[in-house]
């Protein structure tokens, strides 16, 4: 006899007070090695909240997007610098060091889409930034902080990929060439070689636009979610060719975001059906369905210590501790 399954877990705690739908979440290490990391959230009303996970209160509120939705938050490893992308077509660089919260730089974006940017931190002070470009199907690669446009990746005209929907820059351990994974509107995922500006490989894994993807560069395996009822797992072989490994059918359609936990054990998806689903990354075995939110879940984020935060249209951020990292 199998033991009855564990009852569905409850969130460890819930952060209220964002006062509008939470669209993006990001964990960042607290300054000077404070015990617990900080959680950053971007809201529909254009505010970025910085939450202390210790006090579970807002530490600071940043307002730099003129009331337009903040879609992406990312901190840079060197120095407490924060990138925030908003729907006001601006990407701001904040300096958070020593309690400061001022915009030190900003990049004007030319795409009105929902596509989130991606960062590849290379050398000490230089990093690559990928953002949707001017043409509707373009991805622009900038070198920061000089903001010089390195190139713009434009698929061949007859490919008809549509707009890029999600981006991820990464670099294989073995080679210095930066690579970009991009999910497109037509449901395909493409791997770009940024330096040669060519598509290495492309695989159609969804019939609906790809809404989110995450890539495990050690196992050369990635996962993507789309507006349809399935998650796709794909892999990259030595010839840089993408192959669909399998699809996992979900109960309800619509995945807004997918994240793999940094220790590559589990992954979480943000569902339009108000639920967060947790899978075992290697086997894709469903582990849990977190039915806490009462509106679309927009984003999920993992902290390095395994904490999971989910942000939803119900203005709440829930924080979960599942399958603790060993």
């Amino acid at each position: 006899m199998a033991a009855p399954p564990l009852p569905p877990p409850d969130p460890q705690f819930v952060l209220r007070g964002a006062q509008s739908a939470v669209h993006t979440l990001h964990f960042c290490e607290g300054a000077q090695g404070q015990g617990r990391p900080l959680l950053l959230s971007g809201s529909l009303r254009g505010l970025v909240h910085i939450w202390s996970l210790q006090t579970r209160r807002v530490v600071a509120t940043l307002d730099g997007h003129g009331g337009q939705c903040v879609t992406w938050l990312q901190t840079l490893p060197q120095g407490p610098q924060l990138l925030s992308q908003g729907r006001d077509l601006k990407l701001c660089v904040w300096d958070l060091a020593e309690g400061r919260n001022a915009v030190v730089d900003s990049v004007l974006l030319e795409s009105v889409g929902f596509c989130r940017g991606s960062v590849l931190a290379g050398g000490l002070q230089r990093w690559l930034l990928a953002v949707p470009g001017r043409g509707s199907d373009e991805v622009q690669i900038l070198e920061m902080p000089s903001k010089t446009s390195v190139c713009s990746l434009k698929p061949e005209a007859q490919a008809r990929l549509g707009m890029p929907m999600c981006l991820q820059l990464w670099q294989a351990d073995s080679s210095p060439r930066p690579l970009l994974l991009a999910g497109y509107e037509d449901g395909s995922v493409a791997l770009w070689d940024v330096s040669s500006r060519k598509v290495c490989s492309r695989v159609s894994c969804h019939t609906e636009p790809v809404m989110g993807l995450d890539f495990d560069s050690q196992e050369a395996r990635g996962v993507s979610g789309s507006a349809e009822k399935a998650l796709a797992v794909w892999s990259l072989d030595e010839q840089q060719a993408l192959q669909v490994r399998g699809t996992h059918v979900l109960t309800n359609p619509g995945i807004a975001d997918v994240k793999i936990r940094p220790d590559r054990k589990i992954l979480a998806t943000a569902g339009w059906d108000h639920r967060v689903r947790v899978f075992h990354w290697r086997t894709m075995k469903p582990l849990a369905v977190l039915a806490f939110h009462s509106a679309t879940v927009h984003c999920v984020a993992f902290a390095d210590d395994g904490l999971l935060a989910t942000g939803s249209g119900d203005q709440r951020i829930s924080v979960w501790s599942l399958y603790p990292c060993t």
Partner: protein
């Protein structure tokens, strides 16, 4: 007169005289010995002319004389059984046909049981065992057919074939094993083969001698050729007076012959030709049995082609049997038989036109609407399979030549099949149409139907695949049948099968145990939370709303709401029924039909009288589709079922309770109640534990008061056609549904007061339609009759419905015997059984 001739005659006379008068063993022995000279077996044989005369004229007479002398005393005239040996030698060494005839004759003439009879029977057994039967046949082959011969031959054949029966009849319990059909006919087959071997050998000798190509017409063997067919339909020749068990000699003879011939004809042209001649000269009346036997015993089309040659093009009868009888009139052939039959037709250019012809006729039969209605389903399946096999054999070019004709009859057939109300018939139509259209018109747009896959469809689709040109194992004959090619394949498949599995389980193996999944039962289809909370809200959402999520949510919530608030529902019941009946599937809602139907059923159950009245009037109204009309019927049946369910009231809300996921309030109540009850139970001390079990739910049949609303309006207008709805014409599918529904309503009205008038009306309805051409309608009527018998109390049946019952009874008897549809026959038998039971129930009441 020639002195030599008379010398023979004199000798025979003298011998006969001595035999009949003398008691001296030595003298008789000498006489018999002298006569043996004429058989040419001794060291100084008589002259050939003398031998011939003896054999032709005197042999039979002499044998009869010998038979008449047979007695225990006579045989003991000489010691050591010498006399018997000598006596028997005449039968065994003389001309076999005459000896055989005399033996049979005397066996039949002898008194039974007697010494004589047993001796003769033993002699006959010996006769058979030393292979004299081959000599009988060989003798027939060699003889020149004279004017008197056919008659003698007939007699001979009759005796040869009827031997098991005759002997069985004469010897009764003392019958010898040799004469049993299962032993005798294989022996006969062996003998035929031996004769054939002789024939072939002589032909071969002649060919080598004359250095000529073997010509099939050279040997004279009409006798032998006729033996074969005669041995086929044993029944037709079996004397009337025999009572031997029915046996099928053709199977047994051919069962020996065909495998041997298969091997023999494999490399030898001569054997093939002999075989062809053999088949070609089979008389017409025996052709069917022989050909069927060949088709049955041959392991494949190649063998069949080798054995039969082009007999179908040479003999009209053979053609009829092969292309019509086995395809259209009978449907008993197994699939391998059909495969080899059609494959045989396809193997030779001369026969291919026949195959084409057969395909055309098959398609015509397949498509004929009257055949669809009157031919049993098994045969329809058979014809369909035959069509698929034909198509697999015919080439592209051949099909193109007669494409128009084929397509015309195919389309005709598809149309009439899809019109049928029986699902298996429709399915056959779909499968054949898909395959045939793809073959006949490969360039055209492919036909594609939706049907469920099952055993039959897979079998049929496999038939449509073209067979490999030659299959080795069947060529090699039955002596060794290696299937070596298959076994390793299967093994590799088996091995590769699990290999895919371990990949998953392998990684599972070292999978971390800490990842125990949580309960995921909350993960279900998400529904919009905007569902209306009142029935009226649903009504509004379903009619006016452009908000499709709300519309969908209303549809989902409706059934539960109806059950929860019956009073509110009754206020708007008819209006809601109207809306639901006209509801169209505007968005792709999963399970739309089911939701709508459940809501309608709930509505009808809540307010039966008004809603049922509305629905039944709408059934005969003008502007409805057939689908809607059938929905009405379904809803009425389901609602009646729900209403008549005993103990319904206590459980009714349970069905309507919404699932806990979407509406949290609903789930809480039962849990709370369970907790309280549990607490009460724990804190309460009971002094007796009696009657813990719950009594079965009881209550009045709620259907009682409203059955009339459901039933009678449906009967009113069925014979009045509308512009859009003609039950007695094209819309027989709905009529069939109507009949089934009425039967169901009748059945559900058991124990109600209205059952008797309902039964009466229903029997009238059945009576009016009893000769309907559609099997589905008839099935409905028959089940309605059964429902009447079950629901109306027996006394009332006899009192009020006696005449109708008697009429129905004779009709049921007819249907049970003659109806082409199997299900109809079955239903009729069931109804008849119910009638019987009814009678049994009444008899004990009246008899004492």
């Amino acid at each position: 007169m020639d002195p030599e001739v008379s010398a023979v005659r004199l000798t025979v006379w003298e011998a006969v005289h001595i035999l009949s008068s003398s008691e001296d063993g030595g003298r008789i022995f000498c006489t018999l010995g002298s006569l043996k000279r004429y058989l040419g077996a001794t060291e100084n044989p008589a002259l050939p002319e003398e031998q011939e005369e003896f054999v032709r004229i005197h042999f039979s007479t002499f044998l009869r004389c010998l038979v008449s002398k047979l007695s225990p005393d006579w045989l003991e005239l000489l010691p050591d059984g010498q006399m018997e040996e000598l006596w028997a030698s005449f039968f065994l060494e003389g001309p076999a046909d005459q000896a055989f005839l005399v033996l049979m004759e005397s066996i039949e003439g002898a008194a039974s049981p007697s010494f004589c009879l047993m001796k003769m029977a033993q002699l006959l057994a010996r006769f058979l065992s030393v292979g004299r039967m081959a000599a009988v046949m060989e003798g027939q082959c060699r003889q020149q057919a004279g004017p008197a011969f056919p008659l003698l031959q007939e007699t001979l054949l009759t005796k040869v074939v009827g031997l098991p029966d005759r002997l069985g009849n004469r010897l009764q319990r003392e019958n010898l094993a040799t004469f049993l059909p299962q032993n005798y006919f294989p022996l006969l087959g062996e003998e035929v083969l031996r004769v054939l071997q002789v024939v072939v050998d002589s032909l071969r000798a002649r060919c080598t001698l004359m250095a000529l190509p073997p010509s099939p017409s050279c040997p004279r063997w009409p006798g032998l050729l006729r033996l074969l067919p005669v041995s086929g339909p044993g029944e037709s020749l079996r004397p009337r007076e025999t009572e031997a068990p029915v046996c099928f000699p053709s199977e047994e003879v051919l069962g020996v012959l065909v495998p041997r011939l298969t091997v023999l004809t494999q490399g030898s042209c001569l054997w093939q030709r002999v075989c062809w001649c053999l088949v070609e000269r089979v008389p017409d009346w025996a052709m069917e049995a022989v050909l069927k036997g060949f088709v049955e015993a041959a392991p494949g089309p190649e063998v069949l082609s080798r054995l039969l040659g082009n007999v179908v093009t040479k003999s009209k009868k053979a053609q009829f049997v092969m292309t019509r009888k086995l395809l259209f009139l009978q449907y008993s052939c197994t699939m391998p038989m059909l495969q080899s039959l059609l494959g045989y037709l396809a193997m030779d250019s001369q026969r291919r036109s026949l195959l084409m012809q057969a395909l055309k006729e098959l398609l015509e039969t397949w498509g004929s609407s009257s055949a669809i209605r009157h031919v049993p389903l098994v045969q329809q399946r058979y014809v369909s399979k035959a069509i698929l096999i034909c198509l697999a054999h015919l080439g592209e070019a051949e099909l193109r030549d007669s494409r128009d004709e084929l397509l015309a009859s195919l389309m005709e057939g598809v149309k009439s099949r899809l019109d049928s109300s029986l699902p298996p018939v429709r399915r056959l139509g779909m499968i054949v149409a898909e395959v045939a259209s793809a073959r006949i018109h490969p360039e055209g747009p492919p036909l594609k139907f939706q049907y469920e896959e099952d055993e039959l469809t897979r079998e049929m689709l496999a038939l449509a695949m073209p067979r490999p040109a030659a299959d080795g194992p069947s060529e090699a004959g039955p002596s060794f049948a290696p299937v070596s090619g298959e076994t390793p394949d299967r093994e590799t498949v088996d091995r590769s099968g699990p290999q895919t599995g371990p990949e998953g389980s392998d990684s599972e193996l070292d999978s971390d145990d800490e990842f125990v999944p949580y309960d995921m039962s909350v993960d279900r289809e998400q529904r919009s939370s905007k569902a209306p909370s009142y029935v009226r809200g649903c009504l509004e959402a379903l009619t006016g709303s452009e908000d499709w999520e709300r519309w969908e949510a209303a549809l989902w919530a409706l059934e539960g709401l109806i059950f929860r608030s019956p009073a509110a529902t009754q206020e708007v019941s008819v209006e809601l029924a109207k809306v639901l009946l006209h509801l169209e599937e505007k968005t792709a809602v999963v399970g739309f039909e089911g939701l709508r139907q459940r809501a309608l059923v709930a509505l009808t159950v809540t307010d039966p009288a008004r809603v049922a009245e509305y629905l039944t009037t709408q059934f005969y109204a003008l502007n409805y589709s057939l689908r809607q009309r059938m929905d009405i019927l379904d809803v009425l049946t389901l609602a009646a079922q729900e209403l008549s369910r005993p103990g319904r009231l206590g459980k009714a809300p349970q069905r309507g309770s919404p699932d806990p996921g979407s509406q949290p309030g609903g789930a809480v109540v039962p849990a709370w109640r369970a907790v309280v009850e549990e607490r009460v139970r724990r804190k309460t001390r009971r002094f007796s534990k009696g009657s813990a079990g719950r009594a079965p739910a009881v209550g009045p049949n709620e259907f009682n008061s409203v059955a009339g609303y459901f039933f009678f309006p449906l009967l009113q207008h069925f014979d009045r056609p509308l512009v859009t709805f003609d039950l007695l014409g094209d819309d027989q599918l709905v009529l069939g549904r109507l009949a089934h529904t009425l039967g169901a309503l009748m059945y559900l009205a058991v124990n109600t007061t209205v059952a008797v008038p309902m039964g009466k009306a229903l029997l009238e309805f059945v009576w009016a339609l009893r000769f309907h051409g559609d099997a589905y309608v008839r099935q409905g009527l028959l089940s309605a009759v059964s429902a009447v018998l079950l629901s109306v109390p027996a006394e009332r049946l006899l009192a009020d419905l006696l005449d109708e019952l008697l009429e129905a009874r004779s009709w049921l008897g007819d249907v049970a015997e003659k109806d082409p549809d199997k299900d109809c026959r079955l239903l009729a038998v069931k109804a008849l059984l119910l009638l019987e039971k009814l009678r049994d129930k009444l008899l004990p009441l009246s008899s004492p």
